[in-house]
Amino acid sequence: MTVFSKIWEKLQDKAYREAFVASQLKRGLPTQLRVMLKDRHWTQGDLAQRSGLKQGAISRASDPDYGNLTINTILKIASGFDVAYVGRFVPFSDLARWYSDLSESALSVSSFSDESGFIQPRYPQVSVASESARSSLYSPAVMSKTDDPRLTDLTTNRVGGGMTLMRFQQTARCNAAGGIPKREPMVERTPLAPNRRGSVAENSTATGITPSLVPRSSASVISIKSGTARYRKGTITKSSGGRLRHA
């Protein structure tokens, strides 16, 4: 039987639950106080001096049989250690888990000054280091490789390194602006202009692909009917061999 299952079995009894909570609170705090004094190599007198309490008060607080500590005394002791004291309601499963995993190291608490040396803010500001990392990510060396038009594949719209052309253009724009590229949709939808026959033709630039890089045939198609494709200039018809023929 595990420690957790054993204590959980005992906690089924409401009277035991109440007694257990009282015992954990009244005996747990002196135990932690003793561990923290030992960690710091402090005497009860040292803590008393820092807490603004009498040594007798610390002695009573260290006594697991005392059990009559006031919240004000606890707060003064917390101040002496320069740590936080948090009293809150928790479900019994949390208490049982805490009890099962209890160790002396779990009771050790660093003072504010000890922990502030290495704790980072939760939401760090953009630092010089992160600016540097961003610059190296979009360094000229990287861009010169992908900027080479010979590496551009018009069929797949991919450039060197597997980057899509549109993504490449976005990256280049953002890099020129000195900012981190934002995620954008791969196809920007722009208002579609109706043509003379009521059908619509997509603006080729709406795909983010430079017109000069787009194959002419696809750029000039305005409508396709069965067997016949209409172009801006001339008509292309389907030959008997199935090939398209420009008229």
Partner: protein, 126 residues
């Protein structure tokens, strides 16, 4: 993680005599006993702890806690092996009198009997 483990003395008839004593305690005393053992189990060094006293009689020691102004004194010995404490008798103490009155002698007697194969020790899950 607990550094120490506790063991209960079982009689020749395989009755857990410590659990039998424990089950007759009131609920607050049981909770305090559990918490006291738990706090001892995580402490590397018991010297100087208020919850423990070495009595000096053949290595006899007692675990100490007070509930509702009653002093409880379950007694036992270190071992078998390292980081193990075996409880041989459950007791309480009023002024200088133990209850049961022969609690300390009983603990020694049980330990001596165990060496002759009378009774056994089993792990106590905290």
């Amino acid at each position: 993680m607990a550094l120490w483990k506790f063991m209960d003395f079982h009689s020749e008839a395989d009755n857990n005599l410590i659990e039998a004593w424990y089950s007759k305690l009131d609920v607050q005393t049981r909770a305090d006993f559990d918490t006291t053992l738990k706090n001892l189990s995580i402490a590397p060094d018991w010297r100087g702890m208020k919850e423990f006293k070495h009595l000096g009689r053949k290595g006899l020691c007692e675990i100490r806690f007070r509930t509702a102004n009653v002093q409880y004194r379950p007694a036992g010995f270190f071992g078998p092996g390292e980081h193990t404490f075996s409880i041989y008798v459950g007791a309480k103490k009023k002024q200088r009198v133990y209850d049961p009155p022969d609690a300390l002698e009983l603990a020694i007697k049980r330990r001596d009997g165990l060496k002759q194969g009378k009774g056994s020790l089993r792990d106590r899950v905290l």
